[in-house]
Amino acid sequence: MATQETAKIARIMRAPAIILLLIWMIVPLAMTLYFSFLNYNLLNPAGNSWAGLFNYKYFYTDPAFFQAVWNTLILVLGVLLITVIGGIAIAMLIDQPIFGQGVVRILVISPFFVMPPVAALIWKNMIMHPGYGVFADIAKFFGAQPVDWFAQYPLFSIIIIVAWQWLPFATLILLTALQSLDGEQMEAAEMDGASFFSRFIYLTLPHIARAITVVILIQTIFLLGVYAEILVTTNGGPGYATTNLVFLIYRAARLNFDIGGAAAGGIIAVVLANFVAFFLMRAVGKNLD
């Protein structure tokens, strides 16, 4: 009797969270799907009409669309490459016996807590600015011509900024994984004459493989949504050089008021994200039992 009552209370306790998330998930997504089939522009006083697959076709034939998808992929892959390799290296370094490990950890983790607009503006104005930035000062010191980063290498510049923000995350997760590595096993391998390289390949890497997977998947979810860093630095330009999918959709919706087109782009973004999410869910799900 008591358990039945408990189950009933439990159901009531669960309900608000589930219902809220259900509404949050279904209502806007259904609206996006519906809008994606409409000719719907906020500037068009004639109202909206059925468009069929026109919005998708329009998105698909727009050269900016492929550039945006490409930029999105390069951004995600570039940042992943830097943060995973850098994260492993830095995590292994901090994991060594060093003086002031606590402070080093705090310094390394700090960029993660910097809000995206601040991170991007610090880099844009104080580090990468061709006239007054630190990079320009260094170039001038060596007598070289300062690089105008955002004009010459716009997407690469954004990758640097975003990688700076996410390197701490990768480092922290990988460090946590490294610290549970069996020290005795490592010592035994060392005594048996295993080189640093083979110890890394056969002991360290398999041990942190799971953590690496988690880092890649979680970062991918967030990296697919990079927005503020682009907004405050290049505003998607020059041309479409730094326009990712998020920025393209934002532009369609908020600057061109093309609700139908933006909705179609949104659906494409969902499909892309689901692809990644599928793998993430499997990785996390395994750990639940």
């Binding site: 408990t6 209370i9 306790m13 608000p16 969270a17 589930i18 998330l21 949050w24 209502v27 806007p28 997504l29 609206m31 830095i90 060594q96 016996p97 060093i98 003086f99 402070v103 080093v104 950890r105 310094l107 983790i109 700090s110 960029p111 993660f112 807590f113 910097v114 809000m115 607009p117 601040v118 610090i122 104005n125 104080m126 580090i127 007054y132 000062d137 260094i138 995350f169 922290l172 997760i173 946590t176 953590a211 988690v214 979810i221 697919l224 949504g225 503020a228 907004l231 405050v232 934002y250 919706a253 908020r254 609700i259 909705a263 949104g266 994200a273 990644v276 869910m281 996390v284 639940l288």
Partner: protein, 274 residues
């Protein structure tokens, strides 16, 4: 002899680690230094020693009414976190202590809502906000941020609650504790650390959220993210001022973040890495 080598190795590792750490921290450090310079100093070339003027901090307040976006950030971050906790605590509690066959599926489904790209629902949310007059209001944005972070909050609380041993509950029940007493005297004291950690991480996430806060505000409800983003226009060339605004925007959350390293790992990996 062996000891001497180890010490030398330790010094080597220390030097390398500190170099890397200072390089990574440098942009933040340089922003702090620049915020203490005068405007001409700020663009006068590389210099690590400022004149230690607090003029920029004062100017940001007098010229840009800094306190308003700052208070908006506090209200949005804390408000959305408290709202999320009110909804999530009972849910996580029920799933941890009275699990059913479907609990795992529900949790996975909640997580999947977090995978939905924000931009996919930009259009409907924007239209809903316009239609119901929620644009640029703190209420609308607080609810948005609550919904965005709700899955992480439920998940984190769930992983913390699940670590509370069930035997203690049974023991208290045997001793004749009512459900109410059980919750107040047995479970709550054990759950508080987990709730506090969850709260901390969620405030950090809400404080730094930079998509919806920029999309759905203009002036009245604009938090620091939108305020700083507005500096990207030409007037942002006042770098000492921009630095002062930036330092004030990140300082509270940076300090909170230093204390939440463990929770961060746990919360952002959904318990997959502990």
């Amino acid at each position: 002899m062996a000891r001497a080598v180890t010490t030398r190795a330790k010094i080597g590792f220390t030097a390398a680690a500190w170099t890397v750490a200072l390089l990574i921290f440098f942009p933040i450090l340089y922003a702090i230094i620049t915020s203490l310079k005068t405007e001409p100093e700020a663009i006068a070339g590389f210099d690590m020693i400022p004149s230690f003027t607090f003029e920029s901090y004062r100017a940001v307040q007098t010229q840009n009414d800094y306190l308003k976006p700052f208070m908006n950030s506090v209200i949005l971050a804390v408000g959305s976190t408290i709202l999320a906790l009110i909804v999530a605590i009972p849910a996580a509690w029920a799933m941890a202590f009275s699990p059913t066959k479907r609990t795992k599926d529900i949790l996975m489904w909640m997580l999947s809502t977090k995978m939905m790209p924000a931009v996919a629902v930009l259009v409907p949310i924007y239209l809903i906000f316009l239609r119901f007059g929620l644009m640029d209001t703190r209420v609308g944005l607080t609810v948005m941020l609550m919904l965005i972070n709700l899955p992480i909050v439920v998940w984190m609380l769930y992983t913390y609650f699940r670590e509370i041993p069930g035997e203690i509950l049974e023991a208290s029940r045997m001793d004749g504790a009512s459900l109410w007493n059980e919750i107040i005297y047995v479970l709550t004291p054990m759950a508080v650390p987990g709730i506090a950690s969850t709260m901390l991480l969620n405030i950090i996430l809400a404080w730094n959220e930079s998509f919806w806060t920029i999309q759905l505000t203009t002036t009245n409800a604009a938090p620091l993210t939108a305020f700083i983003a507005s500096f990207s226009s030409p007037q942002g060339l006042f770098w000492a001022k921009l630095s002062a605004a930036s330092v004030m925007a990140i300082a509270p959350i940076l300090i909170m973040g230093w204390f939440s390293q463990k929770q961060l790992v746990r919360g952002l990996t959904f318990g997959a890495v502990k």
